[in-house]
Point group: C2
Chain length 136, copies 2
């Protein structure tokens, strides 16, 4: 069978991610709102090169499905890791982390927030330019 | 920004879907196993043209994210609906349904099984050729 998909993005771009919690240009397309039936919230996030979110935690955990490009995922106290199209990252509840694009590539992921009956996200401080450039 | 993604599939093909629960050729790539931390199981499913799964239910619900192609989703007692790349389908717990490709197109979706502490899937009877052809 063919390994080719068509070249259109899966989702429309969505809304600009809030500057309070994101550095650079990122776009969020909401896909599934949290409710008490599924206890799950899903959104697609496109990070342009250099864009990233603040350090943060998820009370109920999160799963990232990388669908395009190349970026970073970092947990507090650990080295940043490269994440690429096809990677899946599971983030346990209350683990302090951030994610975003590399300086030279965009990165798109579907974010699945799990167990949302426990909460969705708690935002912390930005990833500074010094922190970000130190992993280039 | 560009609306183009590269043309490689996001995931590798995975394993042939079990013939006991699928008609035709479908392929399942497991992405996240169920565990008591996330209560979520995720897999990518590629349905070749004409392929579909049996009628079934999910005790904890399911969310389908269509990432490529065109297919069908049908709930028992309702008309089949066309599903396309970019669509998101939420399936409440215990709703009898099936999904698959159309006769002339493949269809790929990410399947997010939610609340897996309640169970994942209960398989029922196949979608017969007569049922399937009646929606062409």
């Amino acid at each position: 069978m063919s390994n080719a998909e068509n070249t259109e993005s899966i989702f429309t771009q969505g809304d600009k991610a809030p500057a309070d919690y994101f550095m650079g240009n990122a776009w969020i397309k909401k896909l599934v709102a949290s409710d008490p039936v599924f206890n799950t919230q899903i959104g697609n996030v496109v990070f342009e090169p250099g864009a990233r979110n603040n350090w943060h935690t998820h009370p109920g955990g999160q799963i990232l499905i990388i669908t395009d490009g190349t970026g970073y995922y970092q947990e507090k106290g650990k080295a940043a890791q490269i994440i690429r199209k096809g990677d899946v990252i599971t983030i346990a509840p209350d683990v302090v982390h951030w994610h975003g694009a590399t300086a030279n590539s965009s990165m798109t992921h579907i974010a699945v927030n799990t167990n949302t009956q426990k909460g969705i996200v708690d935002w912390l401080e930005p990833v500074t330019d010094d922190q970000y450039k130190s992993i280039q």
